[in-house]
């Protein structure tokens, strides 16, 4: 199962390693780490958001191990995608690396390409793709779209967004 976890680290060297050790021990697959260096909690700790994939029975073990090491676990939740949109991409979608375009979204951890339709009418003709992106929340979706916008500009792809989304 995929879970998100908000933890707090003391503002001293070596804390991140301390936090990652229990994940490694439980063979959890770490998908993203958002380390908010610039932020401080009222307790003067540094907030970190993790997204990881692990067996359901490991969740409590990881939590306990983290707390034993002095890492405060603020929240643990199942990582659910609540937002979803379709985006059309037109251009040399395949030749410019469709996998790489998808990876750019997937590696965020908070958004994923969950569906793809592709049409390649001919070698010299423009291809069209319709991708469906799921994201945890509205802000995450917007961030994923900003990433896609940059990738599309680099690859000279026309990105067609839904009318109710801020482009």
């Amino acid at each position: 199962m995929r879970i998100s976890m908000d933890i707090e680290l003391k503002d001293v060297p070596g804390q991140m390693l301390l936090a990652l050790q229990p994940l490694s021990e439980c063979k959890a697959n770490l998908i993203t780490v958002l380390h908010h260096h610039q932020k401080r909690t009222p307790r003067k700790t540094v907030p970190v958001q993790l997204v990881l994939e692990t067996r359901p029975e490991s969740v409590e073990i990881i939590k306990a191990k983290l707390e034993e090491s002095g890492v405060r676990v603020v929240r643990v939740g199942e990582h659910r995608f609540r937002e979803s949109i379709n985006v059309v991409l037109i251009g040399h979608v395949v030749h410019t690396g469709i996998q790489d375009t998808i990876d750019e979204i997937d590696k965020t951890g908070f958004a994923e390409v969950v569906d793809l339709s592709l049409s390649m009418p001919g070698i010299n003709l423009l291809s069209s793709a319709l991708i469906k992106i799921d994201a945890v929340g509205k802000e995450d979706l917007q961030t994923a779209l900003n990433i896609l916008k940059e990738v599309s500009a680099k690859k000279d792809l026309l990105m067609v967004l839904p009318i109710d989304i801020q482009a």
Partner: protein, 331 residues
């Protein structure tokens, strides 16, 4: 009976449409106490001038037969300066680079204290502030409903009918040519190039379609809305513009299978002015087909108001000009 002496500058499709509508609505105008006397008609080759009123039917026939109304070699600006009248109906072709003759005509009209009604977007998209300030300084009326959405009321709808509402945004399809091309591409599963050729044959797209299909026309209309409704001082250069030339029939079909059409949407708010192809749900009020235009105004009090109508065509555009004329001189 109030007599309004006016000139028609520009006698292409729109100018001729104005002449036809003035003939058609002569009795109606008289019934509301207005006699509209056209004292000069000007095209690119010269003018017909008669301080007693030119014969509009005669002008239309002469234009059809010889390609011009010109009987004298005199320009629009010269007519404005030398012929006594109070209203200039400016329908010369849009020039988005310099503002063209339209800009000179409008400025000259205000400098001589005349009112202006126009369908010409170029000068407004380039020099809105200058035009409005010159008109204000001269105490002239300046109306331009016909510049956005043809017959479809947008500017007057917001500034007059919806007065008092704060407008959050306006989104819509403001170019009938692009709407026609995208509608037909989906219907026929045909390429952009094929449907563009069809549109040119039908006279829906112009010989040089760049202005429409690259989103420039929509961008100019958004600039006018940004200035006239949102009080901004925007120019064409402030608009992010993407046209429809890259849209494929396959993309339209894939979108349709998921309940969407692709439309060239213009969007304006205080924060952004943008033209781009967008996915619009099939049952959305903006998902209109053919050459129709549509605009959805999101307002503070009245919520969302959507209007749709013919965005082009001489008679339709002349309808907006007529409504501006009645707004100035009626009652």
């Amino acid at each position: 009976m109030k007599t309004v002496c006016c000139s028609i500058l520009g006698f292409g499709a729109i100018g001729q449409g104005v002449a036809e509508v003035l003939l058609m609505k002569k009795e109606y105008l008289e019934s509301i106490g207005l006699e509209v006397k056209v004292v000069a008609v000007v095209d690119s080759k010269g003018a017909t001038v008669n301080p007693q009123g030119v014969d509009l039917a005669d002008c239309l026939t002469r234009k059809r037969i010889s390609g011009t109304v010109a009987l004298e070699n005199i320009t629009g600006v010269e007519v404005i300066r030398s012929v006594d009248h109070e209203l200039v109906i400016e329908t010369t072709p849009t020039n988005i680079k310099t503002g063209g003759a339209g800009l000179q005509n409008m400025l000259a009209a205000f400098q001589t204290g005349k009112d202006v009604i126009t369908s010409n977007k170029g000068p407004l998209a380039l020099n809105y502030r200058e035009l409005v300030e010159t008109a204000k300084a001269a105490g002239s009326n300046f109306r331009f409903e016909a510049t956005v959405g043809g017959s479809m009321p947008v500017i007057n709808l917001v500034n007059e009918v919806l007065a008092g509402n704060k407008v959050k945004s306006i989104k819509g399809i403001l170019n009938g040519t692009c709407n026609y091309i995208l509608t037909r591409m989906l219907e026929e599963r045909a390429s952009y190039t094929d449907i563009l050729a069809e549109s040119m044959q039908l006279g829906i797209a112009e010989a040089d379609p760049k202005y429409d299909v690259e989103g420039i026309d929509t961008a100019c209309k958004l600039v006018i809305l940004a200035n006239a409704i949102f009080g901004l001082n925007a120019t064409y250069r402030d608009v992010e513009v993407t046209g429809i030339t890259k849209v494929t029939p396959e993309a339209l079909e894939m979108a349709y299978e998921r309940g969407h059409v692709i439309k060239l949407i213009g969007e304006v708010s205080r924060e952004r002015i943008q033209v781009a192809p967008r996915l619009v749900p099939i049952n959305h009020p903006l998902a209109v087909g053919g050459t129709l235009n549509v605009a959805s105004v999101d307002t503070e009090l009245a919520g969302e108001i959507t209007v749709t109508g013919k965005g082009a065509g001489p008679i339709e555009t002349a309808s907006a000009i007529l409504s501006d004329l009645i707004a100035i001189y009626g009652n």
